[in-house]
Structure formats: C-alpha cells, structure tokens
C-alpha cells in the first residue's frame, strides 16, 4: 500500500533522513520508532507531501506521490497527524472534525453529522461543542486523530498521538487505534510509548540518525542489539533486554 524507497532529505548540512526505505502492507499497523531527532517526523513530512525528498521514490497504492502537494495526497487517501498538535483553536471540536469530513463530503450538514460520528469513534462525543482551544493535551491528540479519520483515509500516519497522555488515556487510545484498523484503515505510527508499539504493531521499523537500522516484529526489533545501542549508547544492549522483560512486554 505504501512503498518508500531509498528516500533522503537534508536540511543544510544535517542529513535528517538518509536512504531510508519502508513498506506498509494493507490492513496492517506498522510502527516507526527511534530516538529523538532520528528523522521520524521528517519522514512523515516527506510521505505526506509537506517536504520534497532530495532523492528516492514514494509510492502509494501503486502511484508515485513524491512531488504531489499535501492536499492532493490527502485526497488520494493518505493523511497525517501532527506531533505538535495543530487544532483550529477558534472552532468547535465539531467544526474541526467537519473540516476533515469535507474532503469527501460537500454538504455542510452531512459533514457536521459525519463529524459527530467520527467523534463517537474517537471518544470525543462529549466535547463536540467545546472550542478546540479549550481542550486538554489528551483532547487535542484525539482531535488530531479524529480530524484525520474524518477524511476517510486508506492509510493513516499517526505522529506520537500517545505522547503526554496518562496510562488510562493511553490504554483507551490503543483501543481506538485498533478499532480504526479493524474498520479497514491501514496505519503507520510513530510512537515513543513502547506499550502502544508492542500492543499494536504487526511490524516495526527503527530509524536512527536518518537511517533505517532495523525492522521486524516489535519483539525482534526491541531485542536487536543495534536498536538498544541506538537508544542508550554503546554497551547498553544487555541491560535493556532485561529491563524490557521486567516491564512485562
């Protein structure tokens, strides 16, 4: 469904993504992990058309999409959320989600109805008439998700939607994400919350300093010594493997 092939991007002298490849199969939840500054968000920006790759190809559903504008890619059925949430603060939650719904729905009333439906799916039905600016961080993260979902994507890119949430909220949102997948939406997610990665992912990619250093099932990947060292520095592999088990993963 999504094929990223040897994609590179640099900002001035900084190589943010270098020669990275990644494949997402239809119906899967694939996760992308890596330490801070690894280039994960940059890769999302490249896939969703916010940045142009310096090199490499990106294909979605068999068509090349590198070079298309974000709104065109969204209409093809690939939508991203933002790690730094970007709500329309002066609009209500309902109006926020309806903006997403309008991608497929011309009528105002139908879009607002669809917004209520999507809000119910993402657990926001009680907040529909609140201004988005009044939401807590957890609410804003859900709104990012709801708005993107309202565009009826085939592939949803979630950038750290669990960050900053407490344990209960994380557990709820894991359920929501799984429901979305079960409804037929393929998902690629960036996540630091390992509990979510382990529970949700069918497949995991690890990015470090712009390079894809490992891939496999989440269990395989988290045990791989190169991954552990990428996170915690040389020599830390052994200690972390034990800590991971103690964590109950």
């Amino acid at each position: 469904m999504l094929e990223v092939r040897n994609v590179s991007k640099s900002f001035g002298g900084l190589q943010a993504v270098s020669n990275a490849s990644l494949v997402v199969e239809r119906g899967c939840i694939v996760s992308l992990i890596g330490p801070n500054g690894a280039g994960k968000t940059t890769l999302f920006a490249l896939i969703s058309g916010f940045l142009k790759p310096d090199a490499g190809n990106i294909g979605f559903d068999g068509t090349p999409i590198s070079g298309l504008r974000p709104h065109q890619i969204c209409r093809l059925g690939l939508v991203r959320t933002f790690q730094v949430v970007q709500p329309f603060v002066n609009l209500s939650v309902r109006e926020n989600i309806a903006v997403g719904a309008h991608t497929r729905i011309a009528g105002r009333r139908e879009a607002l109805e669809k917004a209520a439906d999507v809000a119910a799916l993402t657990g926001m039905e009680k907040m529909l008439d609140q201004p988005a600016g009044a939401l807590t961080i957890a609410g804003r993260k859900r709104l990012e998700l709801a708005r993107a979902l309202a565009t009826e994507p085939k592939l949803l890119l979630l950038d750290e939607v669990m960050a900053g949430l407490n344990a209960t909220e994380v557990r709820e949102l894991i359920g929501v994400v799984r429901d979305i997948r079960n409804a037929g939406v393929t998902i690629l997610l960036i996540e630091h919350v390992m509990q979510a990665v382990m529970k949700l992912s069918d497949y995991t990619y690890v990015l470090n300093q712009g390079e894809m250093i490992a891939r496999g099932t989440p269990e395989e990947v988290t045990c791989a010594p190169e991954v552990v060292e990428a996170y915690l520095g040389h020599g830390a592999a052994a200690r972390i493997a034990i800590a991971g088990e103690a964590d109950g993963v």
């Binding site: 065109q72 329309f88 609009l91 565009t151």
Partner: protein, 338 residues
C-alpha cells in the same frame, strides 16, 4: 445565537431598512444611510478575505476602483448601457482579483507581505489611472453625461430626472440591494464547504492542507468573491455621482474604510461590517454635530476619534461589536438559546 434567532434579527433589520422612506425624508439622513450602507458593502468585501480568510488586504480600493472605472468607461467610451456594463465591471474586477491573488498566493505571501502587495497594486492602479490619459482621461476623471429623460430614468440607472420617490430613494434602495446581496453571499459562504475551508486556512494553513484543502484554491475563491462585492460598491458609486477620478477610485481612503468597518464590527461575521460602519459613521455624525459645534470647524477631529475607537475596540472587544452583541443576547436569552 441559534440560526432562528439570527434569521429573525436579519428579517427585522431588513424590514426596517426597506421601510426607511416611511419615516425618514431628510435628504441629509438618507445620504448618511447611503454612505453607511456603502461602507458596509466595502467592508463585507474586505471581510470575506480578511475576516474569514485571514488575509489582511490594505488595498481593497483596487477592487472598488476597478469596478467603478469599468462601469464608467464602458458607458463613456463605448456607449454601453449601465445595466450591461455592470456585469463587465464585476467580471473585470474579478479578473484583477484573480491576478493579484495568483501572484500573492502562488508564492505563499502571507501577513504583512500580502498587505503590502495589495497596497502596491492599488498604488500602481492609481498611477496608471492618472497616466493612461487616452484610456481613463487621467486626473481629470470620467464624467458621465446626465440623462434628462424622465421616462428613461431606470434604463439609464440615473434618478436625477425621475419621479420624486426615485429621485429621493433610488440610490438608497440601490445600495441596500447591493448590501443584501453581499450579506446573502457571506451568509451562504459561512454555511458552505467553501466557507469552512476558508476559515480552516485562516486558522492554520498547514493543518488545512493536511486535511485535503488546497489553501491556494480556497484563497483564490475568496479574493474573487471579495473583488466582486467591492466592484458592486464601485458600480453604485459611479451611477450615483456620475463621476470617478483616480484619487477617489484608488486612493487609500477606500482601502482604510473597507477594513475599519469589519474590524470594529466583528471580523468573520455577516453582520460585522454593517455594525462597524454604523458605529463609525454614527459617531462621526455625532462628533460633527457636538464637538464640531463646540470647538469650531477643526478638520481632523473625527479622525482622532476614529483612531481612538479603533484602539479601544482592538483592546477590549477582540470579537468586535458583533461579538459583544452575541454575548449580550446570550445573557438575556439565558439557557433558552440552545
């Protein structure tokens, strides 16, 4: 406020405006009303792009002036009737709007850059209308001939020699109808996909793009609509005064009036420009009557007053008079207004 309350308010307002001849006959007060409605139309043109779209123009005179000049020149040079010229005036202004929009939005100009480029365009048109003498008659302006045949008053879109009612109220109703069209367009826009997308672009362009909105196309739509509405104000102006010259058409005066009204009245609201225009010109009249009389005829005193009002509104009423009205209505309506 619910839609029903709003609709009732608008219907009442419309009734009052339509019935004005029944209780106002003083030419001076009709002039005052015409000016107020005229500025409200200019303001609505600005409000579409600035209030709903967040693109603050400092040169909306370019639309007013172009509409006015096309309306005047088609009659003056080619002898085309005013009712036919009107369509060309609107269409031609929309083309100018699309051109300015294309140059600005294609290259992602926002904020003060957009304000500056619109100002630059209105200044360029000012210079051009002064220097292209063979086309525009230059600084002398275009004076349309008076039509003295009472039977042709409507056909000529001139009411100086028509029956007494039309002579007194013809242009009042003209600008009222234009304002109704402008407000209806805005009302429709507010409840359409286009309006929702325009507001989304104002709020956060990046997020809007991510959700499938072409910010470029939406802003192009807004600038064309803004141009069309401002052009209608130009058409009214030319038919009423049968005269247009570069300073009136493209001077910064119209650009400033166009943005004052909606900012004071309430950005991104249908009623904002009308409220703001009434407030500004109402205060202006009162100032002339009282301060002017007390302190003698000192020019500029109304400008000081306008400036102070603008500062006060910006400081204390971020959502303008419309926002104030809404919260007052909510308080009065209590829980009823669900």
């Amino acid at each position: 406020m619910s839609d029903r309350v709003r609709m009732t308010g608008w219907a009442l307002l419309l009734l009052i405006f339509a019935a004005v001849p029944a209780f106002i006959s003083s030419a001076r007060w009709i002039d005052f009303l015409e000016l107020t409605l005229f500025v409200a139309v200019l303001g609505q043109g600005w409000n579409i792009l600035g209030g709903y779209g967040g693109q603050y123009s400092f040169g909306n005179a370019v639309f007013f002036g172009t509409g006015a000049y096309i309306q005047a020149l088609l009659q003056y040079k080619l002898g085309i009737g005013p009712w036919a010229a009107m369509w060309f005036a609107v269409a031609g202004t929309v083309v100018v709007g699309a051109f300015i929009g294309y140059l600005s939005f294609r290259y992602g100009l926002r904020g003060s850059y957009f304000a500056l480029i619109t100002l630059a365009f209105s200044e360029a048109f000012l210079v051009l209308s002064r220097s292209l003498k063979s086309l525009t008659e230059g600084g002398r302006g275009v004076q349309l001939p008076l039509n003295q045949d009472p039977a042709q008053a409507l056909a000529a879109f001139q009411f100086n020699f028509s029956d007494p009612f039309l002579r007194s109220y013809g242009f009042y109703y003209t600008i009222l109808i234009i304002l109704i069209v402008a407000c209806a367009l805005t009302w429709w826009m507010e409840r359409s996909r286009f309006g929702a997308q325009l507001v989304a672009v104002r709020e956060n362009e990046e997020a809007a793009e991510a959700l499938g909105i072409s910010a470029f196309r939406v802003k192009m739509g807004a600038i064309c609509l803004a141009a069309a509405i401002s052009a209608m104000a130009g058409i009214y102006y030319v038919q009423k005064f049968l005269y247009i010259e570069p300073g009136i058409a493209y001077g910064t005066g119209k650009s400033v009036e166009a943005l004052f009204a909606p900012i004071i009245g309430g950005l991104g609201t249908v009623a904002g420009p009308l409220l703001g225009s009434f407030f500004i010109h109402g205060i202006g009249e009162i100032a002339k009557e009282t301060l002017g009389r007390a302190m003698g005829d000192r020019p500029g005193i109304d400008l000081i007053l306008f400036g102070s009002i603008l500062i006060l509104v910006l400081a204390f009423l971020p959502r303008g008079l419309a926002g104030l009205l809404e919260s007052v209505c909510k308080r009065i309506g209590g829980g009823r207004d669900a």
